[in-house]
Subunit: 220 residues, 2 copies
């Protein structure tokens, strides 16, 4: 398909700029997480829960990627956290040049962590390096335990996998053991964090793990 | 962005083949629905519920689009319905040439309805004409009432909007009135069908509406 052939030059350009972003983040010792998930999996809620768990120790900013609207960045700003909204127009993922422009309005010298909330999409953002330290992903319980079989790429690209909305496990037919088996097959290195972002369950384990990564970067 | 510039030739080629698909479907008087939704919104469950409601009157087939796996087509076949699995590799949407090849293995002379289950994605499939009679979309309650603001394109492209998993409304903070307002702003023509595909609520209203479209085509 033509689609595949045309993709490579876009990726090459993206990757060049991603390298520049990565060098800038390394120089400023800012840890950057690219967060991937479907629409409605609870990305913004998870980011807010993470901010609440980590804001006493770290200075945090968020870059929000959406096709349209500024719903998410407004939610973040209400909590007193710097947030930059990127509207991608029609594009189904963030690209490294968008990140570079968004970063220009942030005070990198006084930041420890930037969370990039990518466009809600389990496919397209996977291939795009933004210069982040790691990609993390969220799957929510209502989406179903078979999603690793159907969207393997994103589960393989993630350095951490968050299972959100575990408070709704009693309502949905979601086999957590089967889900863990799928992940163990695709990406045995990635830790799995079952959480309820809105209720707070499990957020500490995820936030502590992330804090360890940020501290390690600061100490390097 | 380069992404936008490269997209047009792909769309042009896609649209040419979509026209051929549309002519073939019209000649055979087969009604074709392109079903769009996020991962885990209940596309396959909705298709199964629709099949159960309509199979006494119509001959139905399903074309399943997934990045990987044949989980969905196997589920459909278990119900004695012809199903063709398309694995897109990395592609985030179905294209009209994939549909043309899939259709070759179906007996179009003896079909009334083909449902195309697109890749789980609220963005990319929107722009791709597959030769269908209409696009329909599903949003599920756990995804949240703000999704029309964030993914307006798909809500505008749909001729019918299904709100699935309404049995979980008590568990989620989903404002159905606000959701209806968003849709009325974006796409006042499209009917909204609140359903629970697994419990059966509301499926009859959606299936009856669809049956009317199929009968109209047959009678034309």
């Amino acid at each position: 398909m033509a689609h595949i052939d045309l993709k490579q030059p876009i990726l090459d350009k993206n990757d060049r700029l991603a390298k520049e972003n990565r060098a800038l983040f390394a120089e400023k010792k800012v840890f950057v997480v690219d967060l991937l998930a479907s629409p409605g999996s609870g990305k913004t809620s998870t980011i807010l829960a993470t901010i609440n768990a980590l804001r006493d120790e770290f200075n945090i900013a968020v870059i929000e990627g959406d096709i349209a609207s500024s719903v998410d960045s407004e939610k973040i700003k209400e909590h007193g956290i710097p947030a930059v909204q990127i509207n991608t127009g029609g594009a189904c993922h963030l690209e490294s040049d968008m990140i570079r422009r968004a970063v220009e309005v942030l005070d990198l010298d006084n930041l420890d962590l930037i969370i990039l909330e990518n466009v809600g999409n389990l496919v397209c953002p996977t291939d795009f390096d933004l210069g982040e330290n790691m990609k993390a992903m969220i799957l929510s319980v209502p989406e179903g335990d078979d999603k690793p079989l159907k969207y393997p790429g994103v589960f393989q690209a993630a350095s951490a996998i968050i299972l959100n909305k575990v408070d709704t496990l009693p309502v949905f037919d979601f086999n957590e053991e089967l889900f863990r088996d799928h992940i163990a097959n695709l990406n045995p290195q990635a830790p799995l964090f079952p959480i309820s972002a809105t209720k707070g369950d499990g957020v500490d384990a995820w936030a502590s793990w992330l804090a360890g990564k940020i501290r390690a970067l600061k100490a390097s």
